[in-house]
């Protein structure tokens, strides 16, 4: 492999990894907060992509400018999912883990079905935008602008998340609620409100990823599946509930997958990713940065 090809594969892996991390962090956040695995996470991503596409088609403004609207919409959507579905699932007296799984999984099927009904199963894409299809070459290494933009957004989102968690009252309330749900009630924190905001935040983060992805990826009702699968691996590898574990694991998965596709038949490129995941889970069941 030439040095140029090496750096190309590395850069592509890192850029994709940042995006994987951004997709996964919302999932990790929600799990860390309340021990609920959102099986509709891929569908959240898909909804965000359709929201971007729909706004673009109606308003006719570049997807980059639409991002705040998409995030706001996804925040409301995420909070509504908590208040309308998950809150009730959590009340189950017996086997509440299973109830939560079925509730979010059922929600996933519902969202897919409704999307297919509303938007048809046709593949949509945003054909022309400021960034779409543009690419810069640095010493023969091609960096597609949508992915560079996505990587930048991802880094900023993680920085913002760090500040939010460490510097704000909301962050402290999140942290306290995940530590001990019962105790926070005693100091006057409304658990339900924190959970709703947590779901809103988780959905907004995947919304961020969706608004970037919509620029360069096709959009259809099942688009979330392959990304969600990667997100589950990223979350488990990085450590359930660990925000920065998600960042590290996202980058690892992106780079490993990228090089695996060169080193072996690309059809098998996921195998090293899963092997790595298995290895980590064997040695450190809580994941790389998990605190469980």
């Amino acid at each position: 492999m030439t040095a140029q090809a090496f750096f190309q594969v590395l850069a592509s892996g890192l850029l994709m990894g940042l995006l994987y991390a951004l997709i996964a962090v919302g999932l990790s956040l929600i799990f860390g907060l309340m021990d609920v695995v959102n099986f509709a996470h891929g569908e959240f991503l898909m909804v965000a992509m359709y929201a971007t596409f729909g706004l673009w088609a109606i308003v006719g403004v570049d997807p980059v400018l639409l991002m705040p609207l998409v995030i706001a919409f996804m925040f409301v959507f995420g909070a509504a999912v908590y208040l309308g579905v998950v809150r009730f699932a959590m009340r189950a007296k017996t086997n509440s883990g299973m109830v939560q799984i079925f509730a979010t999984f059922g929600l996933a099927i519902l969202i897919q079905g409704v999307s297919q009904l509303l938007f048809s199963p046709d593949y949509r894409s945003i054909p022309a935008s400021w960034l779409g299809g543009r690419t810069v070459s640095i010493g023969g290494v091609f960096l597609p602008l949508p992915q560079v933009y996505g990587g930048l957004i991802s880094v900023l989102a993680f920085a913002g998340l760090y500040l939010l968690m460490s510097r704000t009252d909301f962050g402290k309330a999140l942290e306290a609620t995940r530590e001990d749900q019962g105790a926070v009630a005693l100091v006057g924190i409304d658990r339900n409100k924190v959970f709703a905001l947590g779901w809103g935040l988780g959905a907004a983060l995947v919304g961020l990823a969706g608004s970037v992805l919509a620029i360069f990826y096709y959009i259809h009702p099942q688009v979330g599946g392959p990304f969600a699968l990667v997100a589950y691996v990223v979350v488990a590898l990085g450590g359930f509930g660990s925000v920065f574990g998600a960042l590290a694991a996202g980058l690892i998965v992106g780079v490993v997958e990228s090089f695996a596709a060169i080193a072996m038949p690309p059809a098998m490129k996921s195998i090293p990713v899963y092997l790595l995941y298995l290895g980590v889970v064997f040695i450190r069941p809580s994941g790389l940065f998990g605190r469980l």
């Binding site: 594969v9 897919q112 894409s125 054909p127 259809h220 599946g225 997958e257 596709a261 490129k269």
Partner: protein
């Protein structure tokens, strides 16, 4: 979560869906045919388009139409007292096991006379075996893997070409280009990891060896992958004279986008249709595909030689808001061939319909395809399903090969 994952939930859901559907009563004046397609999942649009193609065909069979197609002039099936065809749809979600379960349901509960399907070769594989078990004819409309008709199945029929015909057509074309002085020495294979990609690439590899082309990239990729960057990087490094992709829609879009992102413009692409005949691909990345060549069973610009094409395309377009393509044309024609067989069998008995289908003899000008005729060999394959090569130029498909039907010479390089 002990021992419980998303797949289990999926299987449970599928089973619940299958068992929850009521068997419905059928009027005796109706011939029920099962259409088994991806109606949800990543390729659901294929199912939607197929449905429009079948409805167009059934409309022509059930009504009276002045057009040169089998069964068009009479209302319904003459051989069965003008009985009308009724279609029952089932969803296989591109999953061979779901396909098999749904085929059983169609046969045992809906009592279908025949099954038509299934787009994905991997699904047609399991469904045709199930049909064989129950003695119900399987009309393979649009799956092109060559291995499908080589399993000694008595109830399997495929009017369209398979990938060996198609690939042979491609290599005949490459040979002809070479003979006219174009430099074509190296090929890049790029194919997905199910039976379609495997069979297609096997044939291409064999033909390349026989005819002296060097394969400089042989890339089997994972279907529906979130990214194809490393895969395309290898194609770019190899920079073959011709890239031969075998991809369904999603991967076709991603492949072409990624090529653009990595600054790779292939010298030429000769595609094994599938995704590369879908409107969605050209809506998404059509600007990068000018000059793309694809194999096809069908070409709209042959309407001069086959006037029925315009008639059928208008009817199809009214339903689906798009032109007939390689897939939908094959689906349409397969339904007419099946109806013709049932009509001549004068029965809905599986064995009798099978015998009638085996004796099919439809002249080429009674089809909308470039075929010589429709007549099945002992293995159920139509041997006169001549494919064509078409090129995407200025937003339209132009037939470029073979010379006898070509509307224009190929633009080379793309």
């Amino acid at each position: 979560m002990t021992g419980f994952n998303r797949r289990h939930v999926l299987i449970g859901t599928a089973a619940a869906t299958v068992t929850a559907r009521p068997a419905f009563a059928q009027a005796p004046a109706e011939i029920v045919i099962g259409a088994l397609y991806p109606m949800s999942g990543a390729n659901a649009q294929v199912g939607v388009d197929a449905r429009n193609a079948f409805e167009t065909a059934v409309d022509i069979v059930n009504g009276m139409h002045e057009v040169a197609l089998p069964g068009a002039k009479n209302a319904g099936l003459m051989g069965l007292g003008n009985a009308k065809i009724k279609l029952v749809y089932a969803d296989h979600q591109a999953d061979p096991q779901k396909g098999r379960a749904e085929a059983e349901r169609l046969i045992t509960q809906d009592k279908v006379t025949a099954i038509i399907g299934c787009y994905h070769s991997a699904v047609s594989n399991t469904v045709s075996v199930t049909c064989e078990k129950y003695g119900v004819p399987f009309m393979c409309a649009d799956s092109s893997s060559p291995s499908l008709h080589r399993r000694d199945l008595k109830f399997f029929f495929r009017p369209a070409a398979h990938d060996e015909f198609f690939s042979k057509g491609m290599f005949d074309f490459l040979d002809a280009q070479k003979a006219s002085g174009t430099k074509i020495e190296t090929l890049g294979l790029f194919y997905e990891d199910t039976i379609f990609g495997a069979d297609s690439s096997n044939t291409q590899r064999k033909l390349a060896a026989e005819r002296g082309y060097k394969i400089v990239a042989d890339i089997k990729y994972r279907a529906n992958s979130p990214t194809l960057t490393s895969e395309v990087q290898q194609l770019k490094t190899a920079d073959a004279d011709v890239v031969l992709p075998s991809s369904y829609t999603t991967d076709a879009i991603l492949l072409i986008k990624t090529m653009g992102e990595l600054g790779y413009k292939p010298k030429n692409i000769v595609a094994q249709a599938a995704g590369f005949s879908e409107k969605a691909v050209f809506d998404a990345v059509g600007d990068k595909l000018d000059g793309l060549i694809s194999r096809a069973s069908f070409a709209l610009d042959m309407a001069g030689k086959r006037p029925s094409i315009t008639y059928v395309n208008d009817k199809y377009k009214a339903r689906g808001n798009r032109d007939l393509n390689d897939n939908t044309a094959r689906q349409f024609m397969a339904m007419l061939v099946l109806a013709d067989g049932i009509d001549r069998a004068k029965s809905t008995d599986g064995e009798k319909v099978r015998a009638a289908l085996a004796a099919t003899a439809i002249p080429g000008d009674q089809t909308i395809m470039p075929w010589g005729k429709v007549a099945f060999g002992a293995d159920g394959q139509n041997v006169d399903a001549d494919p064509v090569l078409i090129q995407y130029i200025g937003g339209k498909w132009v037939t470029i090969f073979p010379k006898s039907v070509a509307a224009a010479p190929a633009k080379w390089p793309m």
